[in-house]
């Protein structure tokens, strides 16, 4: 409404955020939260395994250092930048919601930031002083302590952000208490954190095992010990992960029935939810299987065998995030703002006046017979484009064709009948915000899209047209009008 709308008409806007966010989760969980303690544990093992006259086993230490190098390079480049990328993409695609969240969560994010700075400083110290710390046993032990600090801070960063995510998903508390405490008291906060921790650990472990197969030659003694260590690590965390998954799986619907938005209970959600069970089960059994094998016959383990369970582990982190994200719908901020970035409490006004009148950027402020298609295009951009494209991913035409039949012309009357009530059946959809004329214009535009397949460009290429009802002139007139009223 109040921001120029960036729009990706093929990729889909939400997919851009999702891609960046999921890469970030992969790296955060698999290469930081779950990987740093794994590396520190192995580094410690090297000191314990070394001969009495050595500080650490040099071959072993070098292997662990090389694994850490991979994590260091990836976390401080792709990991750090996708973290910033979540902000950037959210600001582009969902400015009203991220702007609102920052007003409320400034402190939480600021606190998160200080922890994050500490984490970066620790990872720089831990990685860059690795070799020079090998000179004396004392400095080696201090180095290992830095590793444990780093592991702790990686975990705290995750613990805080999970709370913010929890708050965003819980609609009830947004209006009543504007505090972060609700994030921590959210009923799925602890189960979620409890689940994410071992999930990160097993992912870190399998990634470490994969790196071992890359960095060592078969038959090297260090390779066998390293493979068995990774196996031990995974076998230790896998049962915790399974238990936590069960708790989380049980806690989620219960907590959601009271707290979460209406999407719960829809068939889409049920499908994802079912899928989650299979994927967690499948990925975990693969991890246990490869670990048992590596424990039993480390000599025969090869890169390709580890790659499959490794991909499965990351895949299951991905689907987990997808399920979590789905719960929020139809809201972007539970109970306050719909995923089309319109506040629930403004709906009566939009219904009464239409959305075009109150939009800052639109070429049409009132629908007439002449401007119907152009008006429909603006209505689509304002109320649908955050999640739908014209002909790309989650295309509006395809959605309706799936309902009414693929090769049939879309019937405007049917769509006009369906759209105002769609949120009753499709509870993940926000209600249509506009008035009757805008609804008809939108239906006409969708039909036009089906025929013309014309793409819709966003503000980043087309620029903007300022609504004449919401420019400086209009506000000036409003102020002058009010002054006149007062002098009378």
């Amino acid at each position: 409404m109040d921001f120029p709308l960036f729009h990706l008409d093929w990729l889909n806007n939400r997919l851009l955020i999702a891609m960046i966010a999921i890469i970030h989760v992969f790296i955060n969980h698999g290469l930081a939260v779950g990987f740093m303690p794994y590396i520190t544990w192995l580094e410690q093992k090297g000191v314990k395994m070394s001969a009495p006259d050595q500080i650490t086993d040099p071959v072993w230490d070098d292997l662990i250092y090389r694994k850490m190098t991979v994590a260091f390079i990836i976390t401080t480049t792709i990991g750090a930048m996708t973290g910033v990328g979540i902000w950037f993409s959210a600001a582009l695609i969902s400015p009203a919601s991220i702007g609102s969240l920052i007003r409320v969560f400034y402190f939480a994010w600021f606190a998160e930031w200080t922890v994050f700075v500490t984490e970066v400083v620790l990872i720089l110290i831990y990685f860059l002083t690795w070799k020079s710390a090998n000179r004396t046993l004392r400095s080696k032990l201090r180095h290992i302590r830095f590793g444990w600090f780093l592991s702790l801070f990686s975990w705290i960063t995750m613990a805080i952000i999970v709370s913010i995510l929890g708050f965003m998903m819980d609609p009830g508390n947004w209006k009543t208490h504007h505090s972060l405490l609700n994030g921590f008291t959210n009923p799925i906060y602890l189960p979620q954190l409890f689940f994410r921790t071992p999930a990160a650990m097993v992912t870190g472990g399998i990634f470490g095992m994969l790196l071992t197969t890359i960095f060592t030659r078969r038959g090297m003694p260090a390779r066998e010990v390293a493979l068995r260590s990774a196996a031990k690590w995974i076998l230790y965390w896998a049962p915790v992960c399974l238990l936590a998954a069960c708790i989380y799986y049980k806690a989620m619907p219960e907590a959601m029935r009271e707290n979460m938005s209406t999407a719960v209970g829809t068939m889409e959600f049920a499908q994802y939810y079912d899928l989650l069970r299979y994927i967690i089960g499948g990925a975990l059994s693969m991890l246990v299987l490869i670990s048992a094998w590596a424990w039993w016959k480390p000599r025969s383990v090869r890169f390709a065998f580890v790659l499959v369970p490794c991909i499965a582990a990351f895949g299951f982190l991905g689907i987990f995030e997808r399920v979590r994200e789905f719960i929020r719908k139809p809201y972007v901020i539970g109970g306050y703002m719909y995923s089309n970035l319109l506040r629930e409490e403004d709906y009566p006004l939009y219904k009464q006046d239409g959305i075009l009148k109150h939009a800052t950027y639109t070429s049409i402020s009132e629908v007439t017979a002449d401007n119907k298609l152009e008006a429909g295009r603006n209505v689509f951009l304002l109320s649908c484009s955050r999640c739908h494209t014209t002909n790309g991913v989650n295309s509006i035409v395809e959605v309706f064709e799936r309902m009414y039949g693929k090769d049939k012309p879309l019937d405007e009357a049917s769509m006009t009948g369906y759209i105002p009530n769609m949120h009753m059946g499709r509870t993940y959809m926000p209600p249509f915000p506009g008035n009757r004329k805008e609804l008809e214009a939108l239906a006409a535009y969708i039909r036009h899209l089906q025929v013309s397949r014309q793409p819709l460009e966003g503000a980043q290429t087309e620029g903007i047209i300022v609504n004449k009802l919401n420019n400086v002139q209009a506000v000036e007139n409003m102020i002058l009008e009010e002054e006149k009223q007062q002098t009378k």
Partner: protein, 446 residues
Amino acid sequence: MMKILLQAGVPVPKDIPLPLPLPEWVLVVLLIVSFLMHLVFVNLMLGGSVLTLWAQLKGRKEKEYDVLAHEIAKTITVNKSLAVVLGVAPLLSINALYTIYFYSANALTGMMWIAIIPLVTFAFLLTYLHKFMWEKLEHNKALHISILALAVATFLFIPLIFLTNINLMLFPEKWGTIRGFMSALTLPNVFPRYLHFLCASMAVTGLFLFWYFGRRKYPFEERFSRLTRYDVRKSVYTLTLGASVFQFMIGPLVLITLPSKGIGWNLLIMILAGAAIALPAMYRIWKAITGPPEEMDRHFGKVVLAMTLTVLFMGSGRQVYRANALGPHQKLVAVKTAAFEKLSVAARNNLASEEEPPAADSSQGPYTKGARIFQTNCSTCHKPNEKLVGPPVTEMASIYRGQAPGLKSWIKAPGKKREGYPQMPGFPQLTDDQLNELAAYILSIK
């Protein structure tokens, strides 16, 4: 007339209708301080990589410069990590303070704005590649230097995207004319500010390296045989001086190209004070590089202090201009936001008073309630006699005749989808009473 036409294109959006998380001045202080911290490390990252490239090119003839390049390169990867992480706090603060201005500029230059993420990632990966491949590419210097050159080019480009955004956000009157990044880039003032920033990067990097190579713990003599600690330090100190002198030429250019709407005495005082404080520092540097070697370090603390103050004044001047430039528009935005809130409340109250139950339509007899529930929940997909999205109502009635409970449980949680029909969503939100009414109505249709 011209002016009125121009005003027709100036948007007045509504602000986020939530209070700021902290008093405005606290946020402003946090923004300035955290931004300058971020900027110093960006300066070091950029200046460091430019100097590394220069030293490595020179190192093709004089071997020791290649070693110098390697030494400077080691600082880049640390400084770049700190630059990124320190960027989060100012980003957060500017988002809170200037929500509509910053996000609007982001959206208008959207593709290039989001390209920052892959570009920075790419440049970072290149700097690692360059650093960790030093020995491996010992005999392929052309390739090794090209990797760095590509990273430097990327590093040089990225600040332009940020500057374009931070500049565009100040001018809502231009937003309507912008078509993507390139048109925003060519607004006046972007390039002068960019030059100003490049010079600052070199000055700050010179100061940093002067300290870095001067540390007692730094084993300079172990690593270099021909280059002396004094020579290298003198060169980087000279760089700081030269860049600072150059700033005195670019500074006025930046000021002249600034659109007049944000200029005021408060801005001039800030900037002139900052420039005045830099002068004695520059004099001290001049004395240090022309004086005896053992006295080079004598006033370093004072130089750093004065330069820090200059940077603080310049950073504050930047904020003063922003506040001056946006102040009047922010007032209009506040008026607009308040007026909209009033309208929204009125519409809400209006709705509440209107929401009396509509006069019962008795044409449906005992099924009136059920018919209304059907109308809002089912009629978009089901027609009485023909297939729409789902099967016709008459078909349901014939299947469930005499089995209202079965029909109710289907509506609540429908079974598997049928061939040729999309899957029906469930209606768990309907109460048992509503389901009874609805089922009775459906089964009444023949």
